[in-house]
């Protein structure tokens, strides 16, 4: 070895902890969410001695992962988490599964006992790679420091390419302390993982031919469009407008298409709009782009959109033909697919059947006449729908860039129904796993990424208690997150199912012994507001928004309100239940349906 080469390699020899931080820096990481412990002390020591990467100390490891998810979903970057071995890693598991289900790119660094102790039931040892194997897109246990840098680089590649997801890197303490070589991110393609992003041209032509011949088309766009980056949402909007087709979004896709656009039908699925679900049911050609035919969306599969030809564009071939057999399968990135569709649409000479499309819109407008999201706000008791609607209208008036996160339950669905999004990456919710306790830490992560933006967690009084300790994190970092609790004193979503499916036997779904949320806020150095009367709602919202720091606004809402429309489990799209007073097909829930969740 020549002398210069030798000094170069020597210069690039670092401790394992330094290698990890250097690799994070090279990957563009600016912030990590974490919680220390014995196994990761070397990493915390290295963090202490540098300024490039900021560390946000959470109050629970689950929250670190949700914060990283919020950070990732609102920026398009990879979120990074650092936790210790054993309980640190196991606490992170819920967050990892959440990120897996919702396709969120997250890297989770976990400490591990030194390699020579692995398998000995050492103090705070857990089989982290074993436990997280089905909880991650991929995971690594680093046993050789020579491969440490390469592993971190690879983990970033895996987390963000193809269908994004969480990746765990388990780091034994001796690896963090030992010395080894640093290596930059490799230029060569990955040995085995190379997801297809460019769509097949023939499939694009087939799709355009079907869409041009359609009399009753519908575009059903999902979270994959958000995953593909803001340009994909722009292209989606362009394509939908140039074709004149109606467009609906999944819960995860909200923001991919502007909610105020006349061609937007609202969300579809279990709590979707009447017009969106009936359009799905009655269409003759469906274009699914970046959505996964989830059971919340399809309802009973053998009654799902029975007369349509289906086109499905997805970056993950395993999403295609998983639940619903489709006629045209396009594997590729949503943005690339949309660009190709736009090009092919322009090139394709065949004319659209404009008369049929106009007739289809007349039908859709008739469905819209049902005004399935209407509600009556009368008297002093605040309707939860009204609370969300006013929050939406007032924030719009203010014109601030607004990011919404949610917990899980009725309030989440009302947020989806009554808060509109004009842009992608403004809506963070736990869709696939449905994790109560997601919203507050996710909001934290969003606020870290967008310090000047307005970040609101629309919460339920039960869910918020699941990660309430993060109020401490808000205080420490002066994160002005607003927690907007729709307090119905019930696990409302559970209560609703018990009312509709279990003879109104409200087994364990009452939120007894609730804290005083105002005092709770104050004890965490935040502002607390309570609103109990409809007349005071606007003032309460304005007070919350005007406060420069974190706020908990406890909004007492009607206790027995149900979330409609609703397609009961096991029912079809045209068997939706509407709110009392609105007429629609009322479905009885079959025993088969009761089995479903």
């Amino acid at each position: 070895m020549s002398a210069t080469l030798q000094t170069q390699t020597e210069a690039r020899t670092m401790t394992g902890a330094e290698i990890v931080l250097q690799a994070l820096k090279d990957q563009g990481v600016e912030v990590i969410f974490g919680y220390p412990g014995g196994a990761v002390l070397p990493l915390y020591d290295a963090l202490f001695q540098q300024n490039a990467i900021r560390h946000i100390l959470v109050r629970h490891e689950q929250a670190a992962v949700h914060a990283a998810e919020g950070y990732a979903r609102s920026t398009g970057k990879v979120g990074v988490v650092l936790v210790t071995s054993g309980p640190g890693a196991t606490n992170a598991v819920t967050g990892l599964v959440d990120a897996l289900m919702d396709s969120i790119p997250v890297i989770c660094l976990t400490g591990q006992v030194p390699t020579h102790l692995i398998g000995n039931d050492a103090f705070q040892e857990a089989d982290t790679t074993g436990i997280t194997r089905p909880a991650t897109k991929h995971n690594y246990l680093v046993k050789d420091i020579a491969r440490l840098a390469g592993t971190v680089h690879e983990a970033f590649y895996v987390a963000k390419s193809g269908r994004p997801g969480p990746v765990v890197i388990d780091l034994p303490k001796d690896i963090l302390i030992g010395k080894g070589p640093y290596a930059e991110a490799p230029q060569a393609p990955h040995r085995s993982y190379r997801p297809q992003t460019e769509p097949d041209a023939q499939m694009i032509r087939d799709a355009v031919a079907l869409l041009k011949g359609a009399k009753r088309p519908v575009v059903y766009a999902g979270g994959g469009v958000i995953n593909a980056g803001p340009e994909a949402s722009r292209l989606l909007t362009e394509f939908v407008r140039m074709t004149g087709m109606p467009c609906t979004n999944t819960l995860m896709g909200l923001g991919a298409y502007p909610s105020t656009d006349p061609q937007f039908l609202g969300m579809l699925g279990m709590h979707g709009t009447y017009e969106a679900n009936l359009a799905m049911h009655g269409c003759d050609v469906m274009l699914n782009i970046g959505a996964r035919f989830d059971d919340r969306v399809t309802g009973r599969l053998n009654a799902f959109s029975p007369h349509s030809k289906k086109i499905h564009a997805d970056i993950d071939p395993s999403s295609i033909n998983k639940n619903v057999k489709v006629d045209v399968a396009i594997v590729g990135d949503a943005g690339r697919v949309l660009a190709a569709l736009i090009e092919a649409w322009k090139a394709e000479a065949a004319q659209q059947d404009k008369a049929a499309l106009a007739e289809w819109w007349r039908q859709i407008d008739a469905w819209r006449e049902k005004r399935c999201l209407s509600y009556v706000q009368q008297g002093s008791i605040i309707k939860p729908q009204h609370a969300v609607r006013r929050l939406y209208e007032i924030t719009r008036e203010m014109g601030r860039d607004t990011f919404i996160t949610t917990e899980v339950g009725q309030h989440q669905m009302w947020a989806a129904q009554y808060f509109g999004f004009e842009q992608p990456n403004r809506w963070m919710t736990s869709g696939g796993l449905g994790t109560m306790g997601y919203g507050l830490p996710a909001a934290m992560g969003v606020q870290i990424a967008h310090p000047d933006a307005l970040v609101i967690d629309i919460a339920g009084e039960a869910s918020i208690l699941m990660n309430i300790q993060e109020m401490g994190t808000l205080a420490q970092y002066r994160l002005p997150v607003k927690v907007f609790i729709l307090n119905n004193e019930y696990m409302g979503m559970v209560r609703q199912w018990q009312e509709l499916l279990h003879g109104s036997r409200y087994s364990e779904s009452y939120s007894a012994a609730l804290p005083d949320f105002v005092k709770l806020a104050e004890s965490f150095h935040a502002k607390g507001i309570r609103v109990t009367r409809a007349e005071e709602l606007d003032a309460g919202i304005r007070e919350m928004l005007a406060h420069p720091g974190p706020v908990i606004a406890d909004i007492a809402v009607a206790k027995d309100e149900n979330c409609f429309p609703m397609i009961p489990s096991g029912a079809a799209h045209n068997e939706m239940i509407l709110a009392p007073g609105q007429t629609g097909g009322v479905a009885g829930v079959t025993d088969e349906g009761k089995v479903l969740v």
Partner: protein, 173 residues
């Protein structure tokens, strides 16, 4: 859960070329158990030391939609290089190896040796009261041999599970 119109049930022999690394078998097996797929047989061994590749052969069954799903799920595992549905992709050879121990004396012993000869099983161990046969072949042929040995004094069976390869010039690597 597949569509109700997806009813055709079939067997599939799937060959998977994977990175030879720790945990890969757990990933594949976990995928099958986690998603409720059948495994009728699974074999694995390194096949290319230079490129650090192992080959897994899985015999499974399901509806067409489920089998397509199994292949897609396997293919998206990060350390998986290639997935091939040998059943679908044309004629292939499937072989299994087994060791069979038969215990007995006198006429039974003679009968075991006669049958082994007819089945082209080799004697690989013998004592005055026991024989171990080695036999390679298709699964049903192995089953037939075991059935015949049972009344004669079958003591123990060890089978490898199926390994398979496509006929003709095309290859997976």
């Amino acid at each position: 859960m597949p569509n109700s119109n997806d009813t055709t049930f079939r067997n599939a022999t799937i060959a998977v070329l994977v990175e030879n690394e720790a945990g890969i078998l757990a990933r594949v097996v976990g995928l099958f158990s986690g998603r409720g797929y059948n495994i009728e047989s699974l074999t694995v061994a390194p096949v290319d030391d230079n490129r650090r590749l192992s080959r897994i052969t899985i015999v499974t069954s399901g509806t067409d939609m489920v089998i397509e799903q199994i292949k897609a799920q396997l293919d998206r595992l990060v350390p998986v290089h290639k997935v091939s549905d040998l059943t679908l992709e044309g004629p292939h050879l499937a072989r299994e190896m087994m060791l069979v121990k038969v215990v007995g004396k006198g006429e039974n012993r003679m009968e075991a040796l006669r049958l082994a000869d007819a089945f082209r099983a080799r004697v690989v161990d013998a004592t005055t009261e026991s024989l171990v046969f080695e036999m390679t072949g298709a699964g049903d042929k192995l089953d037939a041999f075991i059935d015949l040995m049972r009344p004669i004094g079958l003591k123990e069976v060890s089978r490898t599970g199926v390994v398979a390869i496509a006929r003709g010039a095309s290859g997976l690597a």
